[in-house]
């Protein structure tokens, strides 16, 4: 059992959890941040994507104890000062979700991608988003929303 502190969504929080506990479960079960989703547990579906120092990262495989000193952003912290991130705005404009379960991971992947590549081609978007599964297959709308967001960054 480890005792460590994490910086999540700009706040430092103390965590008591086993050292091998993945960040995903610390966020969900210990910090009450349930927006980050469990999908596969092996880094294949992207539902658990968060930002670690700005990089889109799968939280289901990442021991939280190793995240000390890193800036972690989850879907709950993506909007700033109650202003939605342009990716979230685009998701709304396009009316992307069906069941909605994978969308937090999709949005986190898209926002990290656009911060590095603010003017992507459609092929760039397709490659960047390929790691995130949407079982409802709302892929057309995800693709469209990322393109719209890139114009509103």
């Amino acid at each position: 059992m480890g005792n460590y502190s994490l910086k999540v969504n700009g706040k430092t929080v103390d965590v008591v959890a086993d050292d091998d506990t993945p960040l995903l479960w610390v966020l969900r079960d210990e910090l009450n941040l349930a927006g980050t989703k469990f999908g596969c547990g092996i880094g294949q579906c992207g539902a658990c994507t968060v930002h670690v120092d700005g990089e889109a990262t799968r939280s289901c495989l990442l021991p939280a104890a190793a995240m000390e000193g890193k800036e972690i952003t989850t879907i709950e912290g993506l909007a700033t000062d109650d202003k939605l991130h342009p990716v979230q705005e685009a998701w709304k404009e396009v009316d992307v979700p069906q069941c909605g379960y994978c969308q937090a991971g999709q949005i986190m992947t898209a926002s990290a991608f656009l911060s590095k590549n603010p003017a992507p081609t459609n092929d760039d978007i397709r490659q960047a988003m390929n790691g995130n599964i949407c079982r409802c297959a709302a892929y057309n709308r995800i693709e469209k929303a990322v393109a719209i967001a890139s114009k509103n960054l």
Binding site: E76, A79, L84, Q98, C99, A104, N132, N140, R141
Partner: protein, 719 residues
């Protein structure tokens, strides 16, 4: 028109109203009529419990409206579209409406189920009547206040206006309206006057979804709740002989290990500890020897097709005579594997069984049936069962089955603790209720350029096509027609999977028609139109597809999809299918990249009657088409000694963005009652794609997943 709903209502029986102690009115409705007379009208919403909750609409003194959407939301959009129908007839601005999920109420709501794409179709009449009746009561209350006749007043956008031009808001008169008798004579709007229906309404939960609010079953937490991981037999046909839980109990955070039946539950203070505890269990399994493999299913299904015992599901004329007299007989066999549902949110459920009540919370497509089953297994009165529905991270049929909820209830009952059972992805894929493996053999006779006979055999695992499916097209279009079905009984659990049976049947038939068109040297679209010309509409009540609506849908798809006019590097495939009361036609376009086909675009025409929420409707069609293509291309669950060979996404391939076509949807415009869209877009997709691939590569695909045969073209193609 036979498509119109035949339901009959007595408004006095299916709508009730009551004043709210806090001010405002609550309007209760029985979803399909026949409200139980014993159900007392509620008084204060804060005091309502699940048994007497009997409400669809709450109108507050400020005129704002809350609509409790009755049916479970699995991503099909009913939480948005069903309230839209009420709001239209109530005539309130959509911005003044908020929507909440209604809890399970056996007393008040019938068919509180998400399945079969039927929510909108069954709700259409009662939802409109409820809105219109409420509006009329508000008008009557305002007219009384003014001392004028109600018929001199009108109401629109939440405001009632009298002949002198004076106005009252709905909120101004709700308390008076709550004292009135429920009127019988509310008239419904004409479709031309619709202001909400037919306009895009964004998903009502969009803000919560995009900001990560806890909406789903997996997000639900309760005070003192234990997280539970369950170890189940890894293979179908195995039972638990014994187990050693010494190491599991040493995992920090694990609080208890308990056996129930052939399963072992590990209770813990968090999910990770429960999962680790489960992995540390040392079980001993035994089997009764019936551990089935894919090769075994293959043999059994082939045996059924090759002279096994089949049951006739429909027979017209004499197919044997047609075959004997034919110029040519064509026969093909189509094969499909088992498929898991793979909802993105793995199965989970919360249960707290106490002496007072059984509290259940989670994602379930069949709340009423599940509550009944749990009452049975716990030997409790159904009145003790309080079930709350959460938003569902996908359903696709898997959440029709309440096995996970029953597990949670049993574990809570055994341990006397509030528990939440959480499946890992491996649990979810290995303890499935799969789409069964199915084979179709279709034989047709051709004579003088016409299709004269059609004989379809279905060999399936555990169950066969049901209801009216044997009467779907081409039933009624070919004089000599026969459908026979048979199944092999397996211990592998199977069940409904998005568009049951038709998800593969449509591929088989639509591929077969393409071959017939090739042989007859007629255009593939024209062949279907010609066959539909043979249908005597209304002559056979088992035939519920409409030949005229189907022809119109086919023509719209062909027109919008530029059928027959593609450039030299684009190959088109066509399919059309009626299912779940909705007519759909699709044109798939494929190009070749390094010799391998890639689907670029699918143009879809849909006749689902009135389109309630176009953005939501298109989303369903886009998803259905891509889902159909994804599973036709890649979906494959093989078994070895009773055990699925793939249990996570490293070994089981789902379609990803880079493999998806652009889907363009067009609706046939009419004023007919709306029908569902959760499923009908899917069935034609695989056939349209296979027909385009045939044109592109020369290869006729008869087996799903296509990736296996396409892999034979190129070793670069990952199957």
């Amino acid at each position: 028109m036979k498509q119109e709903n035949k339901m009959v209502f007595s408004r006095r029986n299916f709508i009730r109203t009551s004043a709210l102690a806090s001010g405002g009115i609550i309007i209760g409705v029985n979803f399909l009529g026949a409200c139980k007379e014993t159900a007392a009208p509620p008084v204060d919403i804060a005091q309502l419990n699940f048994q007497d909750f009997n409400a669809f609409i709450k109108i507050a003194e400020n005129g704002y409206v809350t609509i409790f959407s009755p049916n479970p939301e699995i991503g099909q959009g009913v939480k948005t579209s069903m309230p839209m129908i009420i709001a239209e007839e109530l005539d309130v601005p959509w911005e003044h409406v908020s929507v909440e999920q209604a809890p399970l109420n056996n007393e008040s709501f019938q068919r509180q189920v998400a399945g079969g794409s039927q929510s909108i179709r069954f709700g259409w009449d009662s939802l409109r009547q409820t809105g219109a009746t409420a509006k009329l009561m508000l008008i009557q209350a305002a007219a009384t206040r003014w001392g004028v006749e109600p018929n001199t007043c009108t109401a629109s956008d939440g405001v009632i206006t009298n002949g002198k031009g004076e106005t009252l808001g709905y909120g101004d008169v709700v308390n008076d309206a709550a004292q009135l008798e429920v009127p019988e004579n509310a008239t419904l709007k004409e479709t031309k006057d619709y202001k909400i229906i037919g306009k895009d309404a964004t998903n009502v939960d969009i803000d919560d979804i995009i900001t990560g609010k806890p909406l789903f079953g997996l997000d639900y937490v309760a005070e003192g709740m234990k997280y539970v991981s369950v170890l189940r037999p890894p293979a179908f046909g195995q039972t638990l002989k014994g187990f050693d839980d010494t190491e599991a109990k040493k995992v920090s955070g694990v609080t208890e290990v308990v056996q129930f039946g052939d399963k072992i539950a590990v209770l813990a203070n968090n999910t990770w500890a429960a999962m680790k505890g489960k992995k540390a269990l040392i079980p001993e399994w035994e089997s009764d020897g019936k551990l089935e493999s894919t090769e075994h299913h293959d043999q059994k299904l082939n045996a059924l097709l090759n002279g096994g015992k089949l049951t006739i599901a429909r027979e017209d004329g004499n197919v044997n005579k047609a075959f004997a007299e034919a110029d040519q007989v064509v026969e093909r066999t189509y094969e499909s594997p088992f498929l898991p549902h793979n909802c993105m949110e793995p199965m989970n459920f919360y249960a707290n069984v106490t002496a007072d009540k059984v509290h259940l919370v989670g994602p379930i497509q069949t709340p009423a049936g599940t509550a009944r089953q749990i009452a049975d297994i716990l030997e409790r009165d159904e009145k003790d069962i309080h079930l709350e529905m959460t938003r569902m991270g996908g359903g696709f049929g898997r959440r029709l089955y309440g096995d996970f909820a029953r597990e949670a209830a049993r574990i809570s009952d055994l341990t006397k603790k509030p528990v939440k059972v959480i499946f890992s992805r491996e649990d979810d894929m290995a303890a499935g209720t799969y789409r069964p493996a199915i084979k179709y053999r279709i034989k047709a006779s051709l004579k003088d350029g016409k299709v004269t006979g059609y004989h379809l055999k279905e060999a399936s695992v555990n169950s066969n096509m049901y209801g009216l499916i044997p009467n779907f097209f081409p039933a009624g279009a070919i004089a000599n027609y026969k459908v026979e079905t048979g199944n092999y009984q397996s211990n592998i659990t199977t069940g409904a999977w998005r568009a049951p049976y038709t998800n593969f049947l449509a591929f088989a038939e639509q591929s077969f028609f393409d071959e017939l068109a090739e042989i007859l040297e007629v255009d593939a679209v024209q062949l279907r139109l010609d066959l539909l010309d043979n249908v005597d509409e209304g002559a056979d009540e088992r035939i519920q597809y409409s030949a005229s609506r189907m022809k119109e849908t086919i023509k719209l798809a062909a027109d919008k999809g530029n059928w027959g006019k593609s450039d030299a590097n684009t190959y088109q495939g066509f399919a059309a299918y009626y299912s779940h009361n909705t007519h759909v036609a699709e044109v798939a376009e494929v190009t070749l990249e390094n010799g391998l086909p890639k689907v670029k675009k699918v143009t879809v025409a849909v006749d689902c009657g009135i389109v309630v929420n176009p953005t939501g409707a298109k989303n369903q069609v886009e998803g259905g088409v891509i889902d159909g293509i994804g599973h036709a291309m890649y979906g494959d669950l093989l078994f070895n000694d009773g055990q699925p060979k793939a249990t996570n996404f490293d070994a089981y391939r789902l379609i990803r963005m880079d493999e998806t076509p652009i889907v363009e949807t067009h609706f046939v415009e009419n004023n007919l009652s709306p029908t569902g869209l959760g499923e009908p877009g899917l069935p034609p997709a695989g056939g349209a794609l296979a027909n385009a691939i045939k044109l592109a590569t020369g290869q006729r695909l008869l087996k799903q997943p296509f990736a296996k045969d396409l892999g034979k073209i190129s070793k670069d193609f990952k199957s």
